[in-house]
């Protein structure tokens, strides 16, 4: 298997940022989603990305996972400029990234153990016995030891999320991405999942990026929080700095106040009728 090369060096001290985003612009069709986003994710931190619906946070997460093409700007992940990587090198880079999807995304026809083992099957040539031990170890880490032969349908919502975490970390990723990990869970189970994220960072030294709209979770786990608003960065800082912010939009987010839609009547009419260059026939 080929190896992606070492990141280019300039003679400067090594960056402690594992992700660097500069002036990132991205579109879905003609609609601009991210409007010049710049941010860094530091090694070993838990970065929480927040924002209202349509703020672009899920799109940003997909870019941070090197799954999307951007219109302009630049991104460096683990020292690599992703615009300069070949397709094969991108695949190799993605093997260093773990993803726990919102709904768990377990394959219903496979056992929990087979689901967790899947990335090892796809990307490594390890002996089956080694894979099985790795799977059982990771299930033990997420407190699902002994559950490897169950089917996903036999698990609770919280257990499915834990199994998804086991699969996300089975290859010891450098960066773990979590998309709405607490969504749909009761507060107690959600809090246990937060504890698991903290454990993975503290015990395994993983950098973790979490998209969530759960304020309690964000304040519990975040080293820093990025707030996106309408495709732009509204805030980057610590939870304490976020709480102290005098920005009205941030206070609305923290107090769960719905913002007035500042769309004028004509624009709203065009949206409904699909009239104008920004819209296409459904």
């Amino acid at each position: 298997m080929s190896e992606i090369g070492q990141p280019a060096t300039t003679g400067d001290p090594p960056s402690k940022n594992v992700i660097e985003v500069r002036d990132l612009v991205t579109h879905y069709g003609e609609r601009m989603i991210l409007k010049g986003v710049s941010m860094d994710v530091r090694a070993d931190e838990i970065m929480v990305i927040m924002g209202g619906s349509g703020s672009g946070k899920s799109t940003l997460l997909r870019h941070l996972m090197a799954l999307e093409h951007h219109t302009s700007g630049s991104m460096r992940i683990l020292g690599h400029d992703i615009d300069e990587l070949s397709g094969v090198e991108l695949v190799e880079l993605r093997q260093k990234l773990g993803v726990a999807f919102q709904g768990g995304a377990l394959f219903s026809s496979m056992t929990v153990g087979e689901n967790v083992m899947l990335p090892l099957f796809e990307h490594t040539a390890l002996d089956r016995k080694t894979m099985e031990i790795m799977v059982r170890m990771k299930l033990q880490v997420v407190e699902l030891g002994g559950f490897e032969n169950l089917m996903p349908s036999e698990l609770s919502g919280g257990m499915i999320k834990r199994a998804a975490f086991a699969r996300a970390i089975v290859m010891d990723p450098k960066i773990l991405f979590c998309d709405e990990p607490s969504a749909g869970l009761d507060p107690v189970v959600a809090s246990q999942l937060d504890d698991l994220i903290l454990l993975l960072r503290d015990a395994l030294g993983m950098t973790v990026c979490v998209v969530t709209h759960e304020l309690d979770s964000a304040f519990k786990i975040a080293d820093r929080i990025t707030v996106l608003d309408r495709g732009e960065i509204l805030f980057i800082g610590t939870p304490d700095e976020l709480r102290a912010s005098g920005n009205q939009r941030i206070q609305n987010l923290l107090n769960r106040v719905a913002e007035d839609d500042d769309m004028d009547a004509e624009t709203y009419l065009n949206r409904l009728t699909g009239d104008g260059p920004a819209y296409r026939p459904l």
Binding site: T130, I133, Q140, D172
Partner: protein
Amino acid sequence: MQHEIIDVGAALVVVFEGDIDLQTSPAARDALLAAVGQGKPLIVDLAKVGYIDSSGVASLVEALQSARKGGKDLSLAAVSEGALRVLKLARLDSVFPIHDSRDAAVGAAG
């Protein structure tokens, strides 16, 4: 990753040097299982291992199980802080005999 096997009489010492990760752990596994096959207690010296991932730890677990089936033990020596964190997280620090140094492990084997 390189390895060397040293016969100290009472045990075999497998000395690894370098990182043990997804790329190198198959070779580490082969070395461990071959050493187990020689029928002596095994000491795995990790002093020169900078990083060991869970595939490397899994190889150690498999070798430990294989050694015990043969009535022998496998102990770890000079485990790095990072590797110890991985072992503890998987609750393996209570499964492996772990010694601070190779000398201590050899002493215990003798």
